[in-house]
């Protein structure tokens, strides 16, 4: 929330575009009817996130065509700054 507000203020006063991270893209998918819209027309939904929320075109391509490993790598890179780090869980049964 605070980050989005800062981005909005930056865009307002300095003309810098707000940017949506890959993590924010996937988090936003879980809100309201977004997941239904995404499944109904994936390309249109991604285009809209690029135009309206500043999703990086490279990230848009990644969501469209990237492998699971590519996406995980990008999320990891994003998480090196303030966000949470993804971690994998291994549960040895012994």
């Amino acid at each position: 929330m605070v980050r989005r507000l800062l981005e909005w203020l930056r865009a307002l006063f300095w003309g810098q575009e707000a940017t949506m991270t890959l993590r924010e893209f996937f988090v936003k998918l879980l809100e309201g009817d977004n997941l239904a819209e995404y499944y109904a027309d994936r390309d249109a939904y991604i285009d809209r996130q690029q135009k309206e929320y500043g999703l990086n075109p490279g990230d848009g391509d990644l969501i469209r065509n990237g492998s699971l490993a590519d996406i995980e790598r990008t999320l990891l890179a994003e998480a090196n700054s303030p966000g949470p780090k993804p971690y994998l869980i291994v549960w040895p049964p012994m």
């Binding site: 988090v27 997941l35 490993a69 995980e72 994998l88 549960w91 012994m94």
Partner: protein, 231 residues
């Protein structure tokens, strides 16, 4: 006053969080969670901003009995203090989640109500993504390291699923163990469920002998189709 514990799973991805799991996470006084991706983490924190991650319990030694014991202790502390607690784990909380079952057993021993809710596991995703029905031929499940150590007798007319193939100590030993039952060219699938909506899973089909050199991750699962159709 006696506290309570509900253990839930967040599914493989946050979009798989069930309605009843959401209700328990949102309604608990204390929420402790351990999830596998940042989207699921955010989903839990959106429902319960006061939720605390169990990841620090890993400490410097990573997964293992000590870490799991610390998780159980962290979950039980508020239960013992009479609070309504929810513990949320990645996938299904009853599958490969050592601390979940222990926490429930110990909470009950304290006289508290404790229960587990089902969730979507990697196995459920595998059946959907590979289009296989375990009822068609039967299905055997083993943790890969355990499979190599115990060398159990297999029913080759049934499917075989091996968990955690990416962290098995010796891939060559695993291939040798499988070669006791299957030919070198028998096709298997290296599978990894996707936590992200619209992003495909990893589905790599290969001959058994190619498994030794295959690219695997900690979340890789191997599906071995039956040798012959079930009767």
């Amino acid at each position: 006053m006696s506290g309570s514990l509900v253990v839930v799973g967040t599914g493989i991805g946050a979009a798989q969080l069930t309605t009843e799991a959401r209700v328990e996470i949102a309604g608990a006084e204390d929420v402790l969670f351990l999830v596998g991706d940042p989207i699921s983490e955010q989903a839990v924190l959106t429902l319960a901003p006061h939720a605390r991650s169990l990841a620090p319990c890993y400490g410097s030694d990573g997964p293992g009995p000590e870490a799991y014991e610390r998780m159980v202790a962290a979950i039980l502390e508020p239960v013992a203090a009479g609070r309504r607690v929810c513990a949320a784990f990645y996938g299904h909380p009853g599958v490969f989640v050592d601390p979940a079952g222990k926490a429930i057993a110990r909470a009950r021993a304290l006289g508290s109500d404790a229960r587990m809710l089902p969730a979507v596991s990697a196995l459920d995703c595998l059946f959907a993504d590979l289009g296989v029905d375990p009822a068609a031929s039967g299905c055997q499940l083993y943790e890969a390291g355990d499979f190599v150590r115990r060398l159990p007798a297999l029913e080759t007319a049934a499917a075989l699923v091996l968990w955690q193939v990416g962290v098995v100590e010796s891939r060559a030993e695993l291939v040798t163990a499988l070669r006791r039952w299957y030919g070198p060219a028998h096709e298997l699938v290296v599978y990894e469920a996707s936590p992200y909506p619209g992003v495909g899973p990893v589905v790599d089909r290969m001959a058994l002998d190619a498994l030794d050199a295959a690219e695997l991750t900690q979340r890789s699962t191997v599906y071995v189709p039956p040798l012959a159709a079930a009767r």
